[in-house]
């Protein structure tokens, strides 16, 4: 198979950003603008290369039959040599297309966003305040460059070990970036600070990652290799894995395939913030908004979905072997989709709504994977990344604007501190569409796409595909759960839009909010393009009217790739019933949102009307079903209690034993010193010293200190050695 030579660039894709990371931390750190220029330049290079690879792949669908794979030996381990390398198949190409572009947009956006933050005291950082940039501006770009390396590396990796390494790099970056403003604190002690949020995210995902690594180890024991094509190209091996069983305590006999895929799925649950490990993602919104867009919407959280997509042959083998793991995936996905959507309804923080919406949308993807709708999951993954990063970045722009408005009022208006002002609270906004037209309209486009506004948005096509599959394959429970989720999605999205952009400003800050700088608005426009038209790569062929004129090349490509991996994904037959139901639900969600928030805009200081209507349910939703409190009770408290118990045990029992042993040893040593040390050892040491002195006095005569003299002796020794050859 001859590959287009541009594929040789693949292994270079993660490199520019990695170099940028080192260049920034080692050299460019003191120069803020230089750092951001390095990072943006690197990511643009990566973008160009990834698009080159992706587009060449799209133009040659026959490559799905021969995914590109390039390996070099890496770790020799006994008889097995571990290879590292890169691979390109349709999934990789799609991901490269999305990741490269979104990363670039977010990097550019960040150059505008990371201005001097409101929570810092300008007098403490005079230089940074004068420049108007965050004091840790360079560090931010170093981190996101490293993050970009992790994401691009994860996408192009051709084996699970490399994938895991990049996965963990992203985990580290996520921790560093969520806690980026680690010195920020709030007047309310119960509100989570960035430092705590970072720690929480890191520890929560760790639970999933440990299980994921166990899955990897089991897989490696069985396969002896972690290369994707080596594992998935080997049908016999997969079959064997799905038939051989292992006895587990509590669970009884399960197949190896089922166990491994379950463990790996837990990794994805942690990374993609699915129930029950979803708690970290909303709090991760404490990080800067580009980070939320980058990590917690477009790329990192979708890595979990990507992982399951990659491992699909294993999952389907497990399902064939009678394991319920696919059902579990579908259940977790569908449940999370609805569950997170309900929480999103009652949030007042503009980013938290989006965070829960992300969890919910990832749930859709997992549900799709669980019912075997492989193609629909990937397409929704790609399109979701575009519109969700758009939404996050637009919300960041809004926050920026409101914060600026606040400062404006603060400086020019009355000088008294009127208490803590939360620029992220939607109830402090309103009427922003007039003040920030670009942000507003792009946000509305993204929101429409998220709510699956029929026909003209990308989100409609991808989400509809999932629902159509659920209906066509007879997964009614999944279908109705997701459909209910779709209604809620439309509702909370437009609740957000009406609260933020329509009506009249509810605070002075909102009244004076300026439009953001161009570095921030242009990426929004670029992403809005994809949020609107990105869906036309996967319009079902038999969809009335539109199907005839739009394209579905991406879906076709993914189907071909699925065939190659032995996954038979037939496109769902078009059926009016589910399509009409989902369209109606989406539109009615929008209408309900308009009736509640748009018809009569909320006045300043008024509470959310939902609170009156839903009563206690609203309180439960507002508190996220008390999950944090529950975990605190179940996991954190017992751990702390155990720790203090062990501390006391350590002090009372173990330390005492150790001290006794020590005292005995000292007594013994004193006794021995008196008898053995003085008469035997000291005498021997002194004797050795005397002998050394005497020998040295003789031997020093041949030390002349002249290198040539020593060399001569060396030569003579060589001559003697040579003489030994003929004498032998």
């Amino acid at each position: 198979m001859n590959y287009p030579s541009v594929f040789n660039l693949t292994w270079l894709i993660p490199l520019p950003t990695a170099l940028a990371f080192f260049a920034i931390i080692l050299f460019a750190n003191p120069k803020k603008r230089l750092s951001s220029n390095i990072a943006v330049g690197a990511v643009i290079l990566a973008w160009i290369m990834s698009w080159a690879v992706a587009i060449v792949f799209f133009l040659n669908p026959e490559l799905t039959e021969h995914p590109f794979d390039l390996s070099v030996p890496w770790l020799p381990m006994g008889t097995i040599t571990f290879h590292m390398g890169v691979a390109v198949d349709a999934v990789t190409a799609g991901m490269l297309f999305m990741v490269g572009f979104v990363l670039t947009m977010i990097f550019i956006y960040s150059t505008g966003y990371m201005s001097f933050p409101g929570h810092l005291d300008p007098e403490k950082y005079p230089d940074a305040a004068k420049e108007g940039l965050d004091p840790r501006y360079s560090r931010f770009f170093a981190y996101i460059s490293l993050f970009a390396t992790g994401m691009l590396g994860l996408v192009v990796a051709n084996n699970l070990l490399m994938l895991f390494i990049f996965w963990e790099i992203m985990g580290l970056c996520s921790y560093l970036l969520i806690g980026f403003w680690f010195d920020k604190s709030y007047p309310d002690p119960k509100q989570i600070t960035p430092k705590q949020a970072g720690l929480k995210a890191f520890l929560t995902t760790r639970v999933g990652d440990v299980l994921f690594m166990m899955g990897l180890i089991f897989l490696f024991i069985h396969a002896g290799d972690l290369n994707f094509q080596a594992i998935f190209g080997n049908q016999e091996f997969l079959h064997e894995l799905s038939t051989s069983t292992v006895n587990l305590p509590f669970f009884g006999a399960v197949t190896w395939a089922g166990l491994i895929s379950m463990l790996i799925f837990w990794g994805a649950i942690g990374k993609s913030a699915q129930f029950p490990l979803h708690v970290w993602l909303p709090d991760a919104m404490e990080g800067p908004t580009p980070v939320s867009a980058l990590i917690h919407a477009a790329t990192m959280v979708s890595a979990g979905v990507y992982l399951i997509v990659r491992m699909s042959p294993l999952f389907s083998a497990a399902a064939h072997g009678g394991s319920g793991v696919m059902m579990f995936v579908a259940f977790i996905g569908a449940f999370t989709a609805l569950f997170a959507a309900t929480i999103a309804v009652a949030q007042k923080d503009i980013k938290k709504v989006l965070a829960y919406s992300t969890i919910s949308q990832l749930g859709y993807m997992f549900a799709a994977l669980g019912i075997g709708a492989w193609v629909a999951a990937i397409i929704h993954l790609l399109i979701h990344a575009f519109f969700k990063s758009l939404l996050f970045m637009a919300s960041g722009s809004v926050i920026h604007g409101v914060e600026h408005g606040h400062h404006h009022v603060h400086e020019h208006g009355e000088h008294g501190h009127e208490g803590y002002f939360d620029p992220q609270d939607m109830f402090n906004m309103g009427g922003l569409l007039k003040r920030m037209p670009v942000t507003g309209w792009t946000f509305i486009i993204g929101g429409a796409s998220l709510s699956a506004f029929p026909l003209i948005t990308a989100g409609f096509w991808s989400k509809d595909e999932i629902l159509a599959h659920a209906w066509a394959d007879g997964h009614m429970a999944v279908y109705w759960t997701l459909a209910a989720g779709a209604f809620l999605t439309a509702f909370y999205t437009f609740r957000q839009i009406f609260l933020t952009f329509f009506g009249s400003p509810r605070t002075e800050a909102a009244e004076h909010a300026p439009e953001s700088v161009r570095a921030m608005t242009w990426p929004l426009v670029a992403l809005a393009f994809f949020a609107l038209f990105g869906g036309f790569v996967a319009v079902p062929e038999d969809f009335p009217v539109v199907g005839g004129i739009a394209s579905d090349f991406m879906a076709k490509l993914m189907e071909l790739q699925g065939e190659f991996y032995g996954l038979h994904v037939a496109p769902a037959e078009f059926n009016w019933t589910p399509a009409l139901i989902s369209m109606t639900l989406a539109l009615s969600g929008i209408v309900v949102a308009w009736l509640v928030y748009g018809w009569k805009p909320l006045a300043a200081g008024k509470p959310d009307p939902l609170r009156r209507w839903l009563g206690p349910i609203y309180v439960v939703l507002e508190n996220k079903y008390y999950f944090d409190e529950f975990y605190h009770l179940v996991a954190v408290r017992p751990t702390l209690w155990l720790a203090s118990f062990f501390y006391l045990f350590d002090r009372g029992v173990i330390d005492r034993i150790v001290n006794w042993v020590g005292a005995f040893g000292r007594w013994l040593a004193a006794a021995l010193r008196k008898w053995i040390d003085e008469f035997i050892i000291d005498a021997a040491v002194n004797g050795a010293g005397l002998v050394t002195t005497w020998t040295g006095a003789v031997v020093r005569l041949i030390q002349t200190g002249q290198a040539q003299n020593y060399l001569l002796i060396l030569l003579l020794s060589v001559v003697v050695l040579l003489l030994l050859i003929p004498l032998k």
Partner: protein
């Protein structure tokens, strides 16, 4: 290939011996350095001769000669710099007057 391999080897041995003699007995450090260069060249001749006569199809011999070139270049640069530095502090580069190895 009318020249026997042993001629090259004897030639290289002679050159090596000359170089080694310079290293052993010249007083001036620059002359010692030149002796080292002679030795390295003798080694190169051996490498190339063995390559040509024993394994002409495998070019590792030539590649090693190139590595010797690099090392020789580095050696000359650092060696001369050392001599200049030593001359600056001790006003001599006569090797037998530099006997700091002896305490």
């Amino acid at each position: 290939m009318t020249v026997p391999l042993s001629w090259y080897l004897i030639f290289a041995t002679a050159l090596f011996s000359l170089g080694f003699f310079a290293v052993l007995s010249r007083r001036n450090a620059v002359a010692v350095l030149m002796g080292v260069e002679l030795m390295l060249n003798a080694v190169n001749v051996n490498l190339v001769a063995f390559w040509r006569y024993l394994t002409p199809s495998d070019l590792s011999g030539q590649i090693f000669v190139v590595f010797v070139f690099t090392v020789a270049a580095a050696e000359a640069a650092v060696g001369l710099a050392l001599m200049i530095s030593i001359y600056r502090t001790r006003k001599t580069i006569n090797v037998d007057e530099i006997n700091d190895l002896k305490l």
